[in-house]
């Protein structure tokens, strides 16, 4: 092997070549984070100079009806989306973890939504969900039912969860497939010799072996759920630029760039980040305890 670490003057060149990436990271990522934190303590409408507001933006948040509504929508969405995505992608992965002809076709088919443009696919779904002549309602009326307003306030949550889960199955499936394929074949063979039924093999061998993949997937899906925006916005936007199901990210965008209350928007963003952070910590704790038991 030899020593691959850069020596002497080479070190400076390393810095030079890394500079564009490092600068982007520094300004783009860390810069935004600190700017958001800073702005959240000010009142700023983008036109007049910002004035210090202390913690008033945070204190006012609980009283903000629109924010509360967006928070509730996001929590309801996550409560449905996270378990549905994890469970469905797990079973799709188990179903596709075998050597049968045409298996690659199905794996590609399930993964396709992950690499498709959310805007284009979102538009496709607006047609599927359209009240007049939409695919869903054609099926419903063909079966003798009355057309459903899929994206109205009452139903939008479920319609939106379906599209988001559909779009996320592929990514989850890949993680679970990798986990499944790292289970040694002889573990399943020993279990078969020991008399385990397929259900017992899943319960005692496969699922425990998938615990790390499952944990990773739950954390990732939760973060995605709290940040969900694209499909939801495209499906539920109204003519006046509003939404029938505003989420936290939509609320941040609306508060900042439609109401021009950057301080309030930044405070909401910080709260969202904090919530994701706390949830991830809880998962880590749970995994540690679960891991110690197993």
């Amino acid at each position: 092997m030899g020593n691959l670490r850069p020596m002497g003057p080479e070190r400076w060149w390393v810095l030079v070549f890394l500079a564009p990436t490092l600068l982007g990271l520094l300004l783009g990522t860390f810069g935004s984070i600190f700017a958001t934190l800073g702005i959240s303590f000010t009142d700023w409408d983008l036109l007049t100079p910002a004035t210090l507001a202390g913690i008033s933006n945070y204190v006012d948040l609980p009283g903000d009806r629109l924010f509360r509504n967006a928070l509730w929508n996001t929590l309801a969405f996550s409560a449905l989306y996270v378990p549905a995505t994890v469970i469905i992608s797990l079973f799709v992965a188990i179903g596709l973890n075998r050597r049968i002809p045409g298996i690659s076709f199905f794996r590609v088919a399930f993964f396709l939504p992950t690499v498709s443009s959310p805007t284009a696919v979102g538009l496709l779904w607006t047609w599927i969900y359209a009240e007049n002549n939409g695919l869903m309602n054609r099926i419903v009326t063909a079966l003798g039912g009355d057309p459903v307003s899929w994206l109205s306030r009452d139903v939008a949550l479920y319609s939106v969860v379906i599209v988001n889960v559909w779009g996320a199955i592929g990514g989850g499936m890949i993680i679970f497939l990798a986990g499944l394929q790292s289970i040694p074949k002889d573990h399943c063979e020993v279990a078969a010799l020991d008399g385990a039924t397929p259900w017992q093999r899943l319960r005692f061998i496969t699922l425990p072996a998938l615990a790390p993949a499952m944990f990773f997937q739950i954390v990732l899906t939760t973060i995605n759920a709290f940040q969900a925006f694209d499909y939801i916005y495209i499906l539920t936007r109204t003519g006046n630029g509003n939404s029938t199901m505003p989420t936290l990210v939509f609320s941040i965008y609306r508060t900042g760039f439609r109401f021009f209350r950057m301080g309030d928007a930044a405070a909401q963003a910080v709260v969202l980040t904090g919530m994701i952070f706390v949830l991830t910590l809880v998962y880590f704790r749970l995994q540690k305890r679960w891991g110690a038991q197993a």
Binding site: D186, E189, L193
Partner: protein
């Protein structure tokens, strides 16, 4: 105790045929070793007995019942894998008791039988450990323990010692044999190591390229190999096998060297002699072969001497520690009655 019977067993993967009609019987309570070079089909055969591979042709019977279409779990067998296949998320005790738990045994019964097996294998102190915290030898014992708590009709071993270091391998093979003597369960042990087969088995079945070459007791295979392949495979260091021409009472080898043998018709043959059956004799002894020392390897117990006799390589093994040097000229004499003759074409034994 249960006998196992293999009849005309054939295995094909598409166009590739792995087993070409193998037949042998394992008596109730017998320990049989299945030995052969890599790719000879021995593991495939074992997996067919276990039910992990489909049977293309022929039959496998366990306890007189043909099990070709019986699910693995209903064959009442336990298998020990090369990689042990311990469940990493279960403790030693949970690993060992898993099959009983699957069968709905109550906790007290599981604990009792696991404790019993742990006692036999010296694992009592490790029952609460996870597999990741054990050494290779301990994991091997847990895999054994998992097999014995079930009290199955037949044990199957798929090269269980190949992942252990040399010293541990010697120790474990004695332990496995002792365990067999104690439990008396019919066992089939697959290995590529003929020393393991020789030291552990009641009988050995030698496989080559999907065909059974010979089945017999270890010393029978050593003393009377059925063909040149078994002669070369069983015994370490390997037998010298040299092409020659049989003539009246002797075999003429290449370069005009000749060795005495029983009278035979004139025909091309393979003459075989084990290294330990060559004696060091003074120059001019009748029937001795002159050879030049090429290499000497001393283990203390014995000296392995590689020589060149004319154009032929001839290996010898001496326990008398003769002081030999590279390049030295020595005289080797085949011990009376210890040489083997095989057909040059088929490799079959001629005596």
């Amino acid at each position: 105790m249960t006998p196992v019977s293999i009849r005309d067993l054939v295995k094909r993967y598409g166009a590739a045929q792995v087993l070409h009609g193998v037949s042998f019987d394992v008596a109730a309570g017998e320990f049989i070793a299945l030995v052969g070079p890599s790719g000879c089909g021995k593991s495939t055969l074992l997996r067919m007995v276990a039910g992990l591979e489909d049977i293309t042709g022929g039959t496998v019977s366990i306890g007189g019942r043909v099990v070709n279409d019986v699910a693995p779990k209903q064959r009442d067998i336990a298998m020990v894998f090369q990689n042990y296949a311990l469940y990493p998320h279960m403790s030693v005790a949970q690993n060992m008791g898993f099959s009983l738990r699957l069968h709905g045994a109550d906790r007290a019964e599981i604990a009792r039988r696991v404790a019993e097996a742990a006692e036999v294998l010296g694992l009592t102190a490790y029952l609460d450990r996870m597999p990741g915290q054990l050494s290779g030898g301990q994991r091997q014992r847990v895999a054994m323990g998992r097999a014995i708590v079930r009290q199955p009709q037949v044990f199957l071993f798929d090269e269980p010692l190949s992942n252990l270091d040399a010293a541990l391998r010697v120790q474990m093979r004695a332990e496995i044999r002792a365990l067999h003597d104690r439990l008396g369960t019919t066992s089939i042990f697959v290995t590529h190591d003929q020393v393991e087969a020789m030291t552990m088995a009641d009988r050995i079945a030698v496989l080559r390229a999907g065909r059974l070459e010979q089945v017999g007791r270890p010393l029978d295979l050593y003393d009377h190999p059925a063909n040149a392949f078994v002669a070369g495979f069983i015994g370490s260091p390997a037998m010298n096998l040299l092409p020659g021409q049989a003539a009246a009472g002797r075999v003429v080898l290449a370069d005009g060297l000749a060795v005495a043998t029983e009278a035979r018709a004139e025909e091309p043959v393979i003459w075989g002699i084990r290294p330990e059956h060559l004696e060091l004799v003074p120059e001019g002894t009748e029937g001795a072969l002159g050879a030049e020392v090429v290499r000497v390897e001393s283990t203390g117990t014995a000296d392995f001497v590689s020589t060149r006799a004319g154009g032929l390589v001839l290996d010898a093994l001496f326990t008398t520690r003769p002081a030999l040097a590279k390049g030295q000229r020595i005289w080797l004499h085949p011990m009376a009655g210890k040489s083997h003759l095989f057909d040059a074409e088929t490799g079959g034994r001629l005596q």
